[in-house]
Symmetry: C2
């Protein structure tokens, strides 16, 4: 499995909001801003089943995460991946993700029902800069 090099791991460790691309039923990419974190060699994020991007990846698991270094637009990280869905009934992962971003469940304004963990298993990693 391709992995993120030490040179580019900071782009996923600095609490940045990153771009997440899925593909809709008509073939159009949907790109949204998400929080995500490295967990060993995979990337994980948390979604609710109510979101369009969840429905997209459940039907079409090829997805891509993309980060541009805010300090240097020539430095980028693209992770193409196969998305894998697991339940998060006790919000154990959501709590971890929020802690990574310096917050917690009590301060989180988003929905906590029907929360799933999305694990991105990289198929290709492209690093620039």
């Amino acid at each position: 499995m391709p992995t993120v090099s030490p040179s580019h791991r900071d782009l996923l460790e600095n609490r940045a909001t990153v771009a997440f691309a899925t593909v809709g039923a008509d073939g159009t990419p949907q790109v949204t801003a998400i929080w995500a974190m490295l967990d060993g060699d995979v990337v994980r994020t948390s979604l609710t089943k109510a979101r369009q991007k969840y429905r997209n990846l459940a039907a079409h698991p090829q997805v891509t995460l993309f980060v541009i270094d805010p300090a240097n637009p020539y430095r980028t990280l693209e992770i193409r991946a196969i998305a894998e869905v697991t339940e998060d009934p006790d919000l154990v992962f959501l709590r971890r993700l929020l802690a990574h971003y310096g917050t917690d469940l009590e301060s989180f304004p988003g929905p906590t029902q029907d929360r799933v963990v999305i694990t991105l298993n990289p198929t290709r990693v492209v690093e620039n800069g």
Copy 2:
């Protein structure tokens, strides 16, 4: 045709590098960093025919441009579009795009052969923040 609101046009007018998603032959999104500019109600960028993203959009014209405001990650602009390809044999458009980003052809390190204009005709515009 959906258009970008005055409230979010700055995200494409401030010389930011933006994320551009195409879909490859196997259905995996490719996301790369590009320069692009508003031209009336469409967005235009310049590519060479040698790039993977060109081959992707020539075969699958549904593409998406995505910008996160570097000053406020909750402020985003997503433009889903149909890509249209036209030739740029005299590099008239490439010169305009470079001028928009404060540079010129003489300083441009990229290839100038087989250059095409990609016009993104919006099918949906999603503005947050």
